[in-house]
Symmetry: C2
Subunit: 119 residues, 2 copies
């Protein structure tokens, strides 16, 4: 089964911020090579590709399952409403593909330890 | 020496998101009890306390050093400009207090591993 991963971020007017997400995607791709056929990123707004386009690219690349992984810290409107709405549309377009949304980064139990490693 | 830690987040119109940051602060406080006299949180906008007020509370509580820890994933305008400007003002007001800004969460090398633990 061809499973692919789409890291999704908010997107920024500052292109260097979007590039940070793209560089993270490269690191994620090598870390996840044994689990995912392809790893890519997409943005909710202000940067390309969009989330629907990012999912479509993976499907066009042969993905039978796509995991959407929100690179978000808090369950704001984007995580609660916008992302699920975009994913629901893609599911309707491609009922043959298993498209699911993983928990967002902020839910990780390891965040406190990571934060303390920075100070 | 009384060192205190201030976790700073963007702030959201959705109060549940701000409460997520406050709950994280509680977890951070117990995880960091051996290193920091006090651990608190503050918000850039849309929630209380503000970053200047958060720093001031810690100083009023006796902090001789305050580490400002940005709970941000990318180096957008907020991390690059807004937070340093607010901190610079507080440094000018309180030259006797060592106020420094830690690297933001998104710089952690462990992010890829954390992301993969979510899928």
């Amino acid at each position: 089964m061809n499973e692919s991963l789409l890291l999704i971020a908010h997107g920024s007017r500052r292109e260097a911020s979007n590039d940070e997400v793209r560089e993270l995607t490269v690191r994620l791709r090598s870390a996840a090579a044994d689990r995912f056929h392809e790893v890519d990123c997409a943005f909710l707004e202000l940067a390309e590709p969009s989330i629907p386009d990012g999912i479509q690219r993976l499907i066009d690349g042969g993905a039978q399952a796509v995991t959407v992984l929100p690179y978000f810290l808090a369950a704001g409107r984007h995580v609660i409403q916008d992302v699920p709405a975009l994913v629901a549309e893609k599911r309707a377009d491609h009922p043959e593909v298993d498209i699911r949304i993983a928990p967002y980064l902020g839910t990780s139990d390891e965040i406190p330890r990571l934060l303390l490693s920075l100070v």
